[in-house]
Assembly symmetry: C2
């Protein structure tokens, strides 16, 4: 699985945002998940951010292109899937609403990838402010007709309850930490402030656990399905239509496509190393 | 006194930053201080932020212009001083360093106004992160030759100790709040998080009290002096030089000046309503 995130993990540069890939192998109960995270350091930090989304669009398209090429091969048994299954878009915790760049970015992304909006550094918002901010963001997302990832409704009542619980919390407010702290003789991942410890995995403090469970447990398969059935099919049909219509080769068609499409970036793709057992790990999460 | 701040108090718009003035009358021990705060809502929020500093430059210049005009009048007794004495520049608590826009803005400001860099929403940085972030920012300010407000050295040893204490804490990390909360049966201004209360006026939590005392007590007079003797004199001599050199009228010269000058914005000007006692309140703080 590959995730594109708009979080800025590294120091800022004057250059426009580039993408940076890193892979993590998650093991749980004998099941392995290779998670690929595509970061976009420096995104939105320039004075002029026009077209700062282009490297991300290009990255998403290139993964679709790779997949299309491997689909056309004679031997399709070992087809790696490095398509982007999800884009985590981090919104600054301003407390005001979306910035023009947020709107522009998500609108250019939403027909290419599953966009999941998040509130970054949520430990700077009090619960009341956070609640207000979430409402404001969802209102603006609707107003601007931004199509974020739609959590599927099912016939299962319990599942619907879970989906409703997630939907009510959108955009998920998250806090990150790479430090383990001892709180009441329990070791937790958190941020140690002079006034207390903000715990990443405490649902009273932020929505991180909801995000994690949704991404790698409850909705991973749906993110993959939507990517394959909607976003990839859109890419494929437009690409092939261009080839047929213009009667030109793939490369030429690609050039034309990239100027015609008004869609966008952000990334999340799932790489599945099938374990020794040969079982599809998705089923076990 | 008038302060320009780059904090975004209001909701974002697609328009470039404009300035908004508000006045507060502070009373303390019979002394009145009329503080004018010039906010720049939406600063830096557009997709393309080129020249987003222009409205602030224009505002600073217009206040210098007003002062220059009233200096030229026959009756100079009632000369209102609405010049900008200080610019509080808020840096986002990214933990990484300055963004290109921060550098560009401060470089365009520093020869027009006393720039004081601040870290906004500092309650999202742990003490260690804050320390690191401060060092990184000061390093970059030096590297890029940004001239922030220079705290004056004096012959008084105690005063020098105070100045050293402030300098060591630059850029000051601040937290804001308009809520009063009860903590250990004491009413404090703070932010109530599920993990504790970040107190605005607790020096273990942030540098707000240092900023307040510096602005309206210890360094107010110096901010006014530097504005008058350095920034205003620069403006005045350039302005008069242009008139003399070009032999044109003020208005025309103004148009030429504003395209030639590569300086900047941010605001802080002191309005002194002289009390009934006729004493200059500055002396009493």
């Amino acid at each position: 699985m590959t995730v594109v995130s708009s979080a800025n993990f590294r120091s800022f540069t004057d250059e426009s945002a580039e993408v940076e890939q890193s892979k993590v192998l998650i093991k749980e109960g004998g099941v392995q998940l290779l998670l690929t995270i595509v970061d976009t350091p420096g995104f939105g930090d320039a004075v002029d951010n026009s077209n700062c989304w282009q490297p991300i669009i290009d990255h998403i398209d290139s993964k679709f292109e790779d997949y299309l090429n491997s689909e056309s091969r004679v031997n399709r048994r070992q087809m790696p899937d490095s398509r982007i299954h999800c884009c985590l878009y981090f919104i600054a915790p301003s407390g005001h609403g979306l910035k023009p760049l947020d709107i522009e970015f998500m609108k250019r992304l939403h027909e290419k990838v599953n966009v999941i909006p998040l509130i970054a550094k949520a430990d700077t918002l009090t619960p009341e402010e956070c609640q207000q901010f979430k409402k404001q963001i969802m209102r603006e997302i609707q107003e601007h007709k931004i199509k974020i990832y739609e959590f599927p409704e099912t016939d299962d009542e319990e599942e619907n309850r879970l989906v409703k619980k997630i939907k009510d919390k959108l955009p998920l407010a998250v806090v990150g930490s790479n430090t383990i702290i001892e709180v009441n003789s329990k070791r937790v991942r958190g941020r140690q402030y002079p006034w207390g410890v903000a715990e990443v995995e405490n649902s009273d403090h932020c929505d991180f656990t909801i995000l994690r469970d949704m991404l790698i447990r409850t909705h991973m398969q749906d993110l993959k399905d939507v990517t394959n059935n909607v976003h990839y099919e859109n890419y494929r049909s437009r690409k092939l239509a261009a080839v047929t219509y213009n009667g030109v080769d793939n490369n030429k068609a690609k050039g034309q496509l990239s100027t015609n499409m008004d869609t966008v970036e952000g990334i999340f793709s799932w790489n599945w190393p099938v374990g020794e057992s040969g079982v599809n790990p998705a089923a076990s999460f």
